[in-house]
């Protein structure tokens, strides 16, 4: 499906979505859909289950610290129809939380655990939200945040 057709389909599902045009950014040429964190779970259910969209493969899940806020970034593609989209949700940096999608895409379980410990995002209803990479009993700031300072190791040139 082309980006234009995808755009129409997605607006049908979520009229409030703010869709950025891909051609202007010079990146991989995929649609970027900005949503509110509260809308994410129902939106995810729909884009997974609607046959003409069928986004069954969450191939990348990550977070960006913009200092004023955090942004969750989900890269999705359909293994049947071979189209890609990016979904972004802006989170409050004081109390970042968003619904988990590990029930829809199982791969999200590990990726969300990584984002949880590295960025401190709280994934609501996650089945097993514990430290994965950091050692047990880790205290202090989340290491991937921009204002993280390590007293022992050099992390910046």
């Amino acid at each position: 499906m082309t980006n234009e057709e995808l755009k129409i389909k997605i607006i049908e599902i979520l009229p409030t979505a703010n869709i950025e045009d891909a051609a202007e950014t010079g990146g991989p040429g995929w649609l970027t859909i900005n949503i509110e964190p509260g809308e994410w779970l129902s939106f995810a259910h729909k884009i997974r289950s609607v046959d003409t969209l069928n986004f069954d493969f969450l191939f990348c899940l990550t977070c960006i610290d913009w200092k004023t806020h955090l942004t969750m970034v989900y890269h999705l593609r359909s293994t049947v129809l071979h189209h890609n989209i990016i979904v972004k949700a802006k989170l409050d940096s004081k109390n970042p939380e968003i619904e988990t999608v590990s029930q829809i895409w199982r791969t999200a379980e590990f990726h969300e655990r990584e984002v949880f410990e590295m960025f401190g995002v709280n994934f609501l209803n996650h089945p097993d939200l514990r430290l994965l990479i950091l050692p047990d009993g880790w205290e202090g700031k989340n290491p991937m945040l921009k204002d993280f300072e390590d007293p022992v190791n050099m992390i910046r040139l």
Partner: protein, 371 residues
Amino acid sequence: MFEEVGTTTEGDLIINVGPQHPATHGVLHLVITLNGETIKNVEPHLGYIHRSIEKMCESLSYRQFIYVTSRMDYLSAHINNHACALCVEQGLQVEIPPRAQVIRVLMDELTRIASHELWWGAMAMDLGAFTPFFHAFRERESINDIMEETCGARLTMNYMVPGGVMQDLHPNFQKRVKDFMQLYKRKIHEYDEMVTGNIIFQNRMKNVGVLSAEDAVSYGCTGPTARGSGVSSDIRKLFPYEIYNTLEFDEVLETAGDSFARYKVRLGEMQQSIRIIEQLIDNIPEGDFQTKTKAVLKLPKGEFYTRVETARGELGVYIVSDGGSTPYRIKFRSPGFSNLSVLNHIAKGSKIGDLVAMMGTLDLVIPDIDR
């Protein structure tokens, strides 16, 4: 972590495999809950070799950060470098010369053979056959020698740079690759005779760690792990980069989804890599091996994503740029991390002795998982 060692109230036994264990091929720690010999739960503990490469890259320039990525999946260093170079090129919007494209593909496929060689030898050794390891390493050594001559390194190549490759091919390259291919095509049949046809080996692999196509997609499996379950996931075919759309090769697919299927996919891929190398080795175009780029690279403000097919699956590089000379945020979508997440799912209910076969055919490389 230590209080977990012992038995639970239900009488299940909890054992730790790793972080130092010969079968994990690196510092992976698995906490396994056993009922008798049957696995109830496998829980990976990661981070023993976590270097926070993503954080490091935030303070390195677009030329420098590629060197760090050789240390991720050190068995496909070329392909990691390739993914990063492609992503920077996408941002700069530069085309690379045809000679560089061919050199890159040749190096990628040689790397894929070398990586699968190591996997094959090590996996057979895990299952109790020691001889294949020596056979595999003999051939892999020839590839490392060829790499050393052109790139100056045997494992961490750092050969692909934004705009092309770092230096031209060594004059001996073509001849040595051809000699190796001749020898290798004779040897690869020995692998089937030695291991694939062996009935003991087959019994240990068939119906072990069965992964359905649906679960493979849901868990984000890529590469031979997904193709063993019949999921078409070869990035070289689906979203071709460089000159892969002009080459003749097949995507190897199996449908059984068990360890033996994943094994056969990797052996098939070695044959396909030979096909690709033979198409290209006599047709390396003349010309530049690099386009001219600025000394200090600056990506425009925006986001860039590229993906390539490594020996283990889909490697994605996601760069967020704020217009400066270093990436604002970089994310490596490593194939090993997602492939590992399926281990608990396929291991549940099987015997502890089969766990090594499952881990072997997932082809886990720990620095790739931890990053």
